[in-house]
Structures are given as structure tokens and as C-alpha cells.
């Protein structure tokens, strides 16, 4: 069960796990049973040690892991039903953003999520999770429909960024994201946003205006990709690790800045090691939030959401108004 992509800091864990499974497959004696027990404990301890101490750049690598659960995995694991709805009624159907009606426990919701794709074919079709304007337009169109029928909205964020291509610019990437930001702030139904992997800049924010904003323990949410930041400020993408640390974009910092309301713990060894457990944790959060937020009136929801984003920012306010020059 060794995944194709083993991260450098996972290597020892996988080596031990391979030794363990070899031992487990051999005929057992009282001695080996004891060894197996000890090894299991050691592996769990090592995983905890490694994953409790990931730095920002290592977190990015976990967030980008190919076997990390994606939107369609969560749809399969969290939803009892999913009726996909396609198309933006203007240009096309962007597979990088999946939208549809879904049942989560007793709740009917509009489910929106960014999809990176797993196979090479899927990844190519989804532009590795980089949506085009038609994706953002599709997402908003379905959200507006949800608001019309008083359905809460669930958004999963997982993108390196909105696609930086010629067609995307021609079709108004900037305008479409801007319009989503304004209109999502005006939808009078609960919106729950979760960063499940990469929260890449405007492309993430474009479906990220919510009443409850959560992120997974090993996801990141940033104004710019660490590579992009490094190439501008450190003059080379090679310093992405430095940029990652400087940008302070992991859960702990974002909680402190008030940008996210909750950091969801990942299974031991991160979400790619146990999709089911990760999905169960997320589903429990959805249900909890859907219960809480459904009790609010549309105007309460709108005011709360406005204030939530209104507060964000850190600056100094000088008491004596001085000349600005």
C-alpha cells in the first residue's frame, strides 16, 4: 500500500511499515506478536513526531500530495446522494470546479468543489485544479440557484490558483473572480468553505466567501504560491521553502489572523493515508455547522458574514491626524 509518491520525510515511516507488513504476513510466534505490537506503537509515535513538526514548505508538499483526497472523493464519502449540475450557461463546463446538489445527513445542500484530478488525463482536463472564468461563473450560478431555494452551500477549496492562460484572460478571469467575491457576500443562505489542500490566492477566494471557513491541518491558504513569491522577492523559485515560511499560511497562523475559524485535524500521517477518516471528520463539521447556521435568518447570516470579513486586516491608526506627507 505504499503510495507512488513518498515524501522525503515519510520515507522512514514507509520503510518501517513495510517491515511490519512483512512480519505480519509471516507465521506468528509469541515473540513476533510482541515485536509487531512494539513496531505498531513505534510507527504511530514516529508519524506523530514527523507530522506534528512539519514546517510550512513540508505542509505544502502534503497539501499537494497526489493521493490526497479531492473534492470528488469527499463527495463519494460524505454525501448520500449527488446530482451533478454542469455548465455556466455562457461558455462551457469547467471540470476544475464540480457543482451539484447533494445530501449530507439530513441536509440538502449545493456542493461546490475544486477538482485537481488524479489520473494524468483528469489532471490535464482540470488544468491541475486551475479553474477558468467559466468555472467561477458556473460556481456562482449554482450558488445563486441554491440561494433561491434556500439551500445551504458547501465549498471545497483546492487550487494552486486560477488558471493564468490566454483564454482565461480573454474571458475575464479578474472580472469573474471579483464578481464572485461581491455576489457571494450577498447570498442569504449559509456558506461553509473548507480549504482541503491548496488555497491558492484569488482562485481560492473566488469560492471562499463563507460564514464558516475551515481548513485541514495540512492545507495552506495564501496570497501567492510559495514559488511565485520566491521568484519575485527572492528572484528565484528555488527559494520556495523560504517564501513558504515567510508567508505564514498554515492553519495556526490563519487561525490567529482570524482568516479561518477552524483547523480540522487530519488522520495520523495526513489525509492521504486515510480518506475515510478524513471525510468523516469533515462530514461531522458540515453537520455541526449546517445545524448552527440554519438557525440564523438570512439577514443575520448576511450581517455576520459581512462583519467576519470586515474585521480582517492589521494596521495602525494614529490618533493625532498628521499630514500624510
Amino acid at each position: 500500500m505504499r503510495p507512488q509518491n513518498v515524501l522525503p520525510f515519510e520515507r522512514t515511516i514507509f520503510e518501517l511499515e513495510e517491515q511490519l507488513s512483512k512480519l505480519e504476513s509471516e507465521p506468528s510466534t509469541p515473540g513476533t506478536l510482541e515485536t509487531i505490537r512494539n513496531m505498531r506503537a513505534d510507527i504511530a509515535k514516529l508519524k506523530r513526531e514527523v507530522f506534528d513538526n512539519l514546517d510550512a514548505w513540508q505542509t505544502v508538499q502534503v497539501a499537494r500530495h497526489q493521493e490526497r483526497p479531492q473534492t470528488r472523493d469527499y463527495i463519494d464519502l460524505c454525501c448520500d446522494e449527488f446530482l451533478e449540475l454542469h455548465g455556466d450557461r455562457a461558455y462551457g463546463d469547467d471540470p476544475a470546479i464540480v457543482t451539484g446538489l447533494a445530501k449530507i445527513d439530513d441536509f440538502r445542500v449545493m456542493f461546490i468543489g475544486q477538482q485537481k484530478g488524479r489520473t494524468l488525463k483528469e489532471r490535464t482536463q482540470c488544468y491541475y485544479g486551475c479553474a477558468h472564468p467559466e468555472g467561477y461563473r458556473k460556481a456562482l450560478l449554482k450558488m445563486e440557484m441554491a440561494a433561491k431555494y434556500k439551500l445551504p452551500i458547501v465549498c471545497l477549496i483546492d487550487t494552486p490558483g486560477a488558471y493564468p492562460g490566454i483564454g482565461a484572460e480573454e474571458r475575464g478571469q479578474a472580472y469573474t473572480i471579483a464578481y464572485n467575491l461581491r455576489e457571494m457576500s450577498r447570498l442569504g443562505v449559509p456558506i461553509i468553505c473548507t480549504v482541503i489542500g491548496e488555497g491558492g490566492s484569488g482562485g481560492a477566494l473566488g469560492i471562499g466567501i463563507g460564514d464558516h471557513v475551515a481548513m485541514l491541518q495540512f492545507s495552506y491558504y495564501s496570497v501567492i504560491s510559495p514559488e511565485g513569491c520566491a521568484s519575485i522577492l527572492w528572484k528565484s523559485g528555488k527559494f520556495a521553502d523560504k517564501a513558504a515560511r515567510a508567508l505564514r499560511f498554515t492553519g495556526k497562523d490563519l487561525l490567529q489572523f482570524g482568516v479561518v475559524d477552524e483547523v480540522l485535524p487530519e488522520p495520523l500521517g495526513a489525509a492521504h493515508r486515510d480518506h475515510r477518516l478524513m471525510a468523516a471528520t469533515m462530514k461531522a463539521m458540515f453537520v455541526r455547522q449546517l445545524r448552527t447556521l440554519s438557525a440564523l435568518s438570512p439577514s443575520e447570516i448576511l450581517n455576520r458574514r459581512y462583519e467576519k470579513f470586515r474585521r480582517l486586516g492589521v494596521f495602525e491608526e494614529q490618533t493625532a491626524t498628521t499630514a500624510s506627507v
Partner: protein
């Protein structure tokens, strides 16, 4: 058209202060026609090239003087100063960078807001200044614009925001800069709901998080000629698609052709055009 002159313009035109796009010295070279032109002549003509009409960068306070009636500008929230929430350090600490930018530009941040009169019409105005850390939006720019929009909402005044930002959302303040896009856009949502008129003027350059938030949300969107406007920077696009970019890609004219700009207006007509547009929408 007669241009207003304001006492404010004096402070922004102190000699010897380097300006982005208009370097120091008596002479400067036009990016567009390549001619060497007399600096004073450019400044006298709304920062246009006398030979080809190229639109040079205009400092925000000069822009106020160009657009608003003399002495009518009342600046708001000029007591807001950037902080350093990330303790950000790249080649130098962000705090030092801020000090250096203030020294170089005479600005305390990349944005000024306030109210004033444009040919007798009251309005709320915001200008982002691309000279200060590339006109990028951090917490102060976001907060100033949001407060100005909230005031425009309360006073039911028309709103004009003139954008110039090559930097988009400011990296040095991390995620908080990204969140300013949400904050300003939500304020524009409320302004939109009360029927406020928002005219967005895009100048060279308007990119990234500024383009992907308030700059694109005007009821009417005007661009100065040949400005660079877009979401992703042209070099990023080129590196991604690995083909040569089309001629004129991400210019004002490109945006007009693709339906994302209402009008391209040359600087000498900007004031009169704004006043006409306001008259159609505000009674």
C-alpha cells in the same frame, strides 16, 4: 478643458523625487515612441507624451488636482499606517521597505481616499498609487477603500476609484492582503444594494488582486489607453502556456475588445467624461 489646479498638487510635485515611469531629471524617455521629451512639458500636459500622447504614470495627488475642483478634496483616514503582521523579511524587512517607500514617494501607503467635487458634482474618490510598493493592496489600502465605500453608502454619493497597481494583493502582508479583496468587494456589494454609482477607472497597470476585486466591479469601467490590465502577469501567462502572447495582450484595447471595459478614455477627456456619466446616473 480647463484643468483644476489645487494646492495639493504642490506637495506632490516637489523636485528631485523619483517617480515610477517618470524618472528624475530634466529629460525623460517615452516608453512608447522612444523620444526624449522635456519633463516639465510632460508634467504640464497631464503627464502625456507631447510627441505620441503616451500616458505616463501620474502621482495620486496630482491626479486629484487634475480631476477635482480646486481646494475641494478632503482627505479621509490618512492616519492609517501599515503594520507588519507577518514580521515579513525577504531581502530586507518589510518594515524597512515601508520606510524606504515612504521616503522615496512621500506617501504613507498605496492609496488615498476622500471626498471632493468634480466639476461641481460631489463624490467619494479613491486612488491607488502604483509608486508605493507597486500600488499593491495590503490591510491599509483595503481598510481605506472599505471605509470610503461605507461612507459613500451612508452619504449616497457617487464613487470613483482610480486603480493603478502592478502588484495586486501585497505579498508582504500575506493572507491578510488576499482578504482585503473580499472585504472591499463586500462593501461594494452593500453600496450596490443602495443604488450607488461606482465608476472604476483603470490605469497602467491594474493587475492581480486589485483587478480581481474592486477595480472590476464598477457599474461603468473606464480604462486609460494602452494600460496593462489583467489577472495574471504576462510573464506568468507566457511561462504557463509556453507560446508567444498575442500582440496587445492585456491592454485596455484588448479588454474593450473582449467585453470587459465600457470605454477607453484619454486623460484629457477623463474629467468631463466622468461628469457626464455621473449626470446620467445620479439625480
Amino acid at each position: 478643458m480647463t484643468m483644476a489646479t489645487s494646492p495639493n498638487s504642490g506637495s506632490a510635485e516637489q523636485p528631485g523625487r523619483p517617480k515610477r515611469g517618470v524618472p528624475e531629471g530634466l529629460w525623460l524617455r517615452c516608453d512608447s515612441c522612444g523620444n526624449t521629451v522635456f519633463r516639465r512639458q510632460v508634467e504640464k500636459q497631464l503627464y502625456l507624451c507631447p510627441d505620441c500622447g503616451h500616458h505616463f504614470y501620474v502621482p495620486s495627488r496630482v491626479r486629484i488636482a487634475q480631476l477635482l475642483d480646486p481646494d475641494s478634496f478632503e482627505e479621509w483616514y490618512d492616519n492609517l499606517r501599515p503594520a507588519d503582521p507577518l514580521s515579513f523579511v525577504d531581502s530586507r524587512p518589510y518594515k524597512d521597505r515601508l520606510k524606504a517607500e515612504t521616503k522615496r514617494t512621500g506617501l504613507t501607503e498605496a492609496c488615498i481616499v476622500g471626498r471632493g467635487y468634480l466639476r461641481g458634482r460631489p463624490l467619494v474618490i479613491g486612488i491607488t498609487d502604483s509608486a508605493f510598493i507597486m500600488g499593491s493592496m495590503g490591510s491599509v489600502v483595503g481598510e481605506k477603500l472599505t471605509r470610503a465605500i461605507e461612507e459613500a453608502t451612508r452619504l449616497l454619493l457617487p464613487l470613483v476609484i482610480i486603480s493603478g497597481s502592478g502588484g495586486g494583493a501585497r505579498m508582504h502582508e500575506g493572507i491578510l492582503s488576499l482578504m482585503q479583496m473580499a472585504k472591499v468587494s463586500a462593501a461594494l456589494g452593500r453600496y450596490h444594494e443602495v443604488g450607488g454609482l461606482f465608476i472604476s477607472v483603470l490605469t497602467n497597470p491594474t493587475m492581480g488582486g486589485v483587478a480581481a476585486s474592486f477595480a472590476s466591479l464598477g457599474d461603468i469601467i473606464i480604462a486609460e489607453p494602452k494600460a496593462l490590465i489583467g489577472f495574471a502577469g504576462p510573464r506568468v501567462v507566457e511561462a504557463t502556456v509556453k507560446v508567444a502572447l498575442p500582440v496587445g495582450f492585456q491592454t485596455s484595447e484588448f479588454l474593450l475588445e473582449h467585453g470587459f471595459v465600457d470605454r477607453i478614455v484619454a486623460r484629457p477627456q477623463l474629467q468631463i467624461e466622468l461628469s457626464k456619466l455621473i449626470d446620467y446616473c445620479v439625480r
